[in-house]
């Protein structure tokens, strides 16, 4: 086994185990902490795949932004009430069966699909991908993907307005 493989197995194991913890912990704070662990290990896998920019964004935006927001909201709402509730809802057996079927299907598609000649294993470093990943992504964002990049700002505007209008405290003018 090469170092690369050992690294991958470690990161994958951490990701899967913490993902399992996310969905089995009763306390949402614990779930959030384990989700952060998953996000970190996925960021590690991004580095392995030479996506340095995304690995950085994953840590900065997901862990530093989104997950902090999650924790903030969990703290804001009444934690004691939440943590004493039952963990799973009543349909969990059906859910488990449906998800198992889904997993088998994905597994079949990917394993069988991967065996064909069109999806050979990744070998050797790619020529262009390894160098200056962030610079290339920046160039693409401002050239080929300029329109979606600009529209994403509208999306963020909508999110800001939406979050403010829904979460702001009640005003005297409200009924």
């Amino acid at each position: 086994m090469t170092f690369d493989q050992i690294l991958f197995y470690c990161l994958a194991a951490i990701a899967i185990i913490s993902a399992l913890m996310v969905i089995t912990r009763r306390n949402p704070v614990h779930s959030a902490m384990f989700l952060i662990t998953t996000l970190f290990s996925v960021a590690g896998i991004y580095l392995q795949l030479h996506a340095e920019f995304l690995a950085a964004v994953q840590v900065i935006v997901y862990v530093g932004g989104i997950m902090v927001l999650f924790l903030f909201v969990i703290m804001l709402v009444n934690l004691e009430v939440v943590s004493t509730e039952r963990r799973f809802n009543k349909q969990w057996i059906i859910a488990l069966i449906a998800s198992a079927v889904l997993l088998v299907e994905f597994g079949y598609v990917i394993v069988r699909g991967g065996k064909s000649s069109l999806l050979p294993p990744v070998t050797g470093p790619a020529q262009d991908l390894t160098r200056k990943n962030s610079e290339q992504i920046g160039l693409m964002l401002y050239q080929n993907y300029m329109l979606p990049f600009e529209i994403a700002s509208l999306l963020l505007l909508v999110a800001i307005i939406g979050a403010v209008i829904l979460a702001k405290r009640r005003l005297a003018s409200d009924k």
């Binding site: 993902a19 392995q48 927001l69 999650f70 909201v73 799973f88 809802n89 994905f106 999110a159």
Partner: protein
């Protein structure tokens, strides 16, 4: 070297764990966290394919998925806060004002 399939299978497992979490959990915030898990597995799939075929566009897609995840988180958590203010509970079984 790690074959592409390994990354894809890892992503599929994470996606399914997200689905299981979403369907089985009772807490609104953890349900939402399960969705984040699913989005992450999608991102991993994109990055793995992007690396494999040596085209950066997959990574660009991931960038936009992250933007959208951030926007959804802001709005989603605001909705949850608004709900909590009225109801003082986050149990999904209490989202039951309207029944068939």
């Amino acid at each position: 070297m790690v074959p592409l399939n390994y990354f894809l299978i890892l992503a599929a497992i994470l996606f399914c764990l997200g689905v299981i979490g979403f369907v089985m959990k009772r807490n609104l915030i953890t349900m939402f966290m399960s969705i984040e898990l699913m989005l992450n597995s999608v991102n991993l799939t994109f990055v793995a394919f992007s690396r494999h075929i040596n085209v950066l566009s997959g990574q660009i897609f991931v960038f936009f998925v992250m933007v959208i995840a951030a926007a959804e988180a802001a709005v989603g958590l605001a909705i949850i806060v608004a709900f909590y203010r009225n109801r003082e509970s986050l149990n999904v079984d209490e989202v039951d004002r309207m029944k068939l």
